[in-house]
Symmetry: C2
Subunit: 392 residues, 2 copies
Amino acid sequence: MDEYSKQEQGRGASVGAVHPQLAKFDTPFTTVSGAVLPQWELCFETYGRLNAERSNAVLVCHALSGSQHAAGVQHDNPNNVGWWDNIIGPGKPLDTDRFFIVSSNNLGGCHGSTGPTHPHPEDGKAYGSRFPVMTVEDWVHSQKKLAEQLGIDRFAAIVGGSLGGMQALRWAIDYPEAIGAAVIIAASARLTALNIAFNDIARSAIIGDANFYDGNFYQHNALPTSGLQVARMLGHVTYLTDFLMGKKFGRTTHANSDRNNSQAVQFEVESYLRYQGTKFSTRFDANTYLLMTRALDYFDPAADCNGDLVKALAPATAQFLLLSFSSDWRFPPEHSRHIVQALLAGNKNVSYLEIEADTGHDSFLLTNAQYHNAIATFMNHLTLDAPNKCNA
Amino acid sequence: MDEYSKQEQGRGASVGAVHPQLAKFDTPFTTVSGAVLPQWELCFETYGRLNAERSNAVLVCHALSGSQHAAGVQHDNPNNVGWWDNIIGPGKPLDTDRFFIVSSNNLGGCHGSTGPTHPHPEDGKAYGSRFPVMTVEDWVHSQKKLAEQLGIDRFAAIVGGSLGGMQALRWAIDYPEAIGAAVIIAASARLTALNIAFNDIARSAIIGDANFYDGNFYQHNALPTSGLQVARMLGHVTYLTDFLMGKKFGRTTHANSDRNNSQAVQFEVESYLRYQGTKFSTRFDANTYLLMTRALDYFDPAADCNGDLVKALAPATAQFLLLSFSSDWRFPPEHSRHIVQALLAGNKNVSYLEIEADTGHDSFLLTNAQYHNAIATFMNHLTLDAPNKCNA
């Protein structure tokens, strides 16, 4: 878990050691763009127990660099704590004493679900750049298939931050009967040009890396680590704030800085970012990074309705909770308010809270009492209707 | 000139065709860090005429990617318009009918002054990474030598935006007797961690480019174009604003976008940025980019006085004009106010104006009536004392 998470003590306990599971699908998956995956798999974890009525399931959707490992510790690596461990667990805002949490790695990901590193059925070589472009809709459709395989007709709630929140919003539109509530955190109904630009700088760093080989680096026994490092550094910086970085690093110089070398690390902030970037560059797949950022850029449910978000949200019946963070400048509060206003205009059931936090976009991953209380209170008040009752 | 400049019609006329000049120095230049350049040259341009009293000289200092070519058109390339052509010329805010403007390429630059692309005296091969690290102080010291060679004992004003403003501020501290006024635009007395972080992402992109060869790419007949492209894209984006990019590009898709290719350009904003980055990558030196960003990071005049900026500014006797732009988030108005407050606390002569503009940090390069009027008015009121009168 990131060190920022330690700044405030969260509530509840850990779900303990967890094992990833694999759901296999033999029916081909056809993407919105028409591409076909003949066979495909989703890697997922679950926390808590599905009740007899199958009414307490909650789907957690991950963001750009997330995975299915959202809570607890990896069974064979106790240092690998889930990315939302402060939210999910007994007595935590997503309370595993009450809810059965499902968390899957997105299709096209690099943590076990079918993705660019997996063998293409035709030649057995890694898909690489041949892996089809994914959209938020594709992920939602694939998660629906997973739910069916798990015997879940309806999720009590679908919860996500950032790109995960976009998935929760899309679920509410595409499968209104299958979602009781949507918790949409630090998300957006569509990115701005600036946000697309940041994503494209990251993509350009990856594509321009001599070790990327047009996305087919696997065959060259190479890794575009430099490009991924830069992409991660940029993500990291833009998910934080000037204030927080000032508080944490200021202008402190690095212990081994050499002022006569313009290539070497001089300030602590550089050392931290280069380290984070390097760590990321060997554990994340470059093609997955491209796919994830593309899905972010393309997400625009209103586009199907001539830009009318109210119309796009018309099918939704879920109860909504929208949350944003005051200092988030990549997915600023205006973006959440834009969704809230469209929901209100459509006479939907929606609550909204803008949380004061100086931790930027990353706030959705961090421990913050007001934020966690908002989710806990919302979740505690959900009625766990059995699906047949709801659809009656 | 950048197309943004065309949004508002500026005043005045062009200085016409200009020729760069070369000042050669045989006395070694010793940097603050103790490195020595045995011989060195500064490439510069001048606009207007030095008066008989030698009292009307104005030094213009350039920012990160600038050059000596600040005004008019290059004599052998009429498409190459100076980067501050909207400010400098007959009837313009820096009026060449009244002032004699000197604009030099910084030492370590790549537009004619001695820099990393030049031969090292020992082996005749390009300096490359062996070129010493430069600081704002070094540039100011080298510009003073240029002034001496031109017979200018005192500048009526020294003017600069961004990194150029830092040089004007340093001049006021280091050579108070040689500067009548300082016009410091969108600058800072020291960068924050976030700003250093952005610079280090750009540096990491360059250093990580396989064609950089630790800064000695000249010998390998290679150019780190990919790294420079990413550096430029990041600079470009952070010098603008979300609002302006939304207005200019929005979510317009590119004419030839292929949604099934995650590597290809999809949105207009990407096409624009990749094009700007590519253009920059073949015309700017990678080592110069590192040196320039390092000078930005290191600049911190208060550091010599235990962080006390008032004390650091104590020697200054110049008349100051500070300008900032409301939407500039890389060098936000707080940074200018910080300098203004220190100047006021030291009982200095200072004016300050925060200009409403939605064009971000790049505003200092753009045409804006309020901005240009502020400079014109300040310059028009300067008394052109002969140096001997001032020092009496």
